[in-house]
Symmetry: C2
Subunit: 228 residues, 2 copies
DNA sequence: GCAAAAGTGTTAAAACTACACCCATGA
DNA sequence: TCATGGGTGTAGTTTTAACACTTTTGC
């Protein structure tokens, strides 16, 4: 029974890759960081940031190394999404790929980096043609993000440390692609105890100004109930 | 930048496996089907049903083939759980493994099969020592199962086609490891429209007898709201 | 007739939805 | 002073949670 497995053990000829789905938020829209593919096959198309895993490297580490090498992004917390293993998904050979996703502050990944690395931000409803099955990967990651963003305090990664409630609400509206009632949203936010109000206002978006808040992780860890 | 990836493309030396987490239900407890490991390393311990993926085989197909070869189970619907990629997780070499999980009717996988394939059912809170990181895999799959069983009609796979509501409730209590109020449970079940009552009673568990029901997938597909 | 499991309703609390006006400020 | 976005409360509805007795039947 196991002999069959042993055969594969000797002869397996496939490669394992990671692909990173990097979300940002800009102009009230969810965006994705893509990279221009400069080699065949599918040269010239856009692609997720991906590469092959090293022999002695944890899968999670590989995702971080690849991301760093190809985009300059460092110390990014990524979560595994799923593994894509159709036999013919990559036309250059047998490649299985595990996707990871992360949310970053777009303002920290600026024009300079973007041009140095041949990357570009795209709003998620204006994606260019992607290589292989990267489109499916992206859609799967977006679905996962929409599910998780309601139950875990992960969306704050897309905002600066100090943010206003109107900003937060627009972020949720952008991610979920739906409008949310302002008063209900604020009530829910306040019921959870981990947003701390500052005495300082953001005067850049309105005459009146909106108070800044920050997310207090220690407070969140006490209760860990999150529901938006 | 991409050159580095190219190097890996030439020299990558790792193997990709699948491991199957097979759930059953018996004696009001959730059980797991494990296989006795008959080879080194870790010979003699218990293990998930796993094997290596073929060069031209979809990852999903590999899971099914491996499951069939090692257990005789066929045409089982499995869902991918996640991929385990710590560099040193398998002491026999670099192996990355993707886990799949399935729920089957234990009565259809009988004593005969169990002894023919060196497998055995274990209640999930009485698992033996498992090889490598299989324990983590199991725990992750159980967490996922508990999440999904509330929102999708997947638990019916663990019951015969015709089942009673007391049976269904005990199944949920077993999976979730909590007690559920009988009246609230029944109300919720009836609010969803896809359980069809039969005129026939199961007289084997009580004097009074409990009506049989079956899950009507077509009815479920009309609404697809599920919440237990 | 009694033991054992199946079946059945109501009430209070909590969560959710919809909705409209005043406030603070810079121009 | 007015235009703009920030901020606030209430009422109706729905969902959830807690809880106890009657029914059926084989023995």
């Amino acid at each position: 029974m196991r002999i069959e497995s042993r055969i594969y053990e000797e002869t397996q000829k496939l490669k394992l890759a990671v692909d990173c789905i990097i979300f940002g938020f800009n102009d009230n829209r969810l965006e994705l960081l893509l990279i221009h593919r400069g080699f065949e096959p599918e040269k010239g198309k856009w692609s997720l940031i991906g590469g092959f895993i090293g022999n002695d490297e944890d899968l999670d580490e590989a995702a971080n190394r690849v991301l760093y090498n190809l985009s300059g992004l460092q110390n990014i917390y990524m979560e595994q999404v799923r593994t894509w293993g159709k036999a013919n998904r990559d036309t250059s050979g047998r490649v299985i790929s595990t996707t990871y996703s992360a949310m970053i502050l777009k303002s920290e990944y600026d024009e300079e980096k973007v041009s140095a690395y041949n990357t570009k931000w795209f709003p998620i409803d204006e994606l260019p043609e992607l290589v292989f099955d990267h489109r499916d990967m992206v859609e799967s990651a977006i679905r996962r993000l929409r599910r998780r963003v309601r139950n875990f305090p992960i969306a704050f990664n897309l905002l600066p440390q100090k943010f206003t409630l109107p900003q937060l609400q627009m972020l949720y509206e952008g991610i979920l692609n739906e409008t949310i009632d302002k008063r209900n949203f604020r009530r829910k936010v306040f019921q959870m105890k981990f947003l701390v109000k500052l005495d300082e206002k953001d005067m850049s978006e309105s005459r009146k100004g909106a108070y800044f808040y920050y997310f207090d992780e220690a407070l969140y860890n006490k209760e860990q109930n999150f529901n938006l």
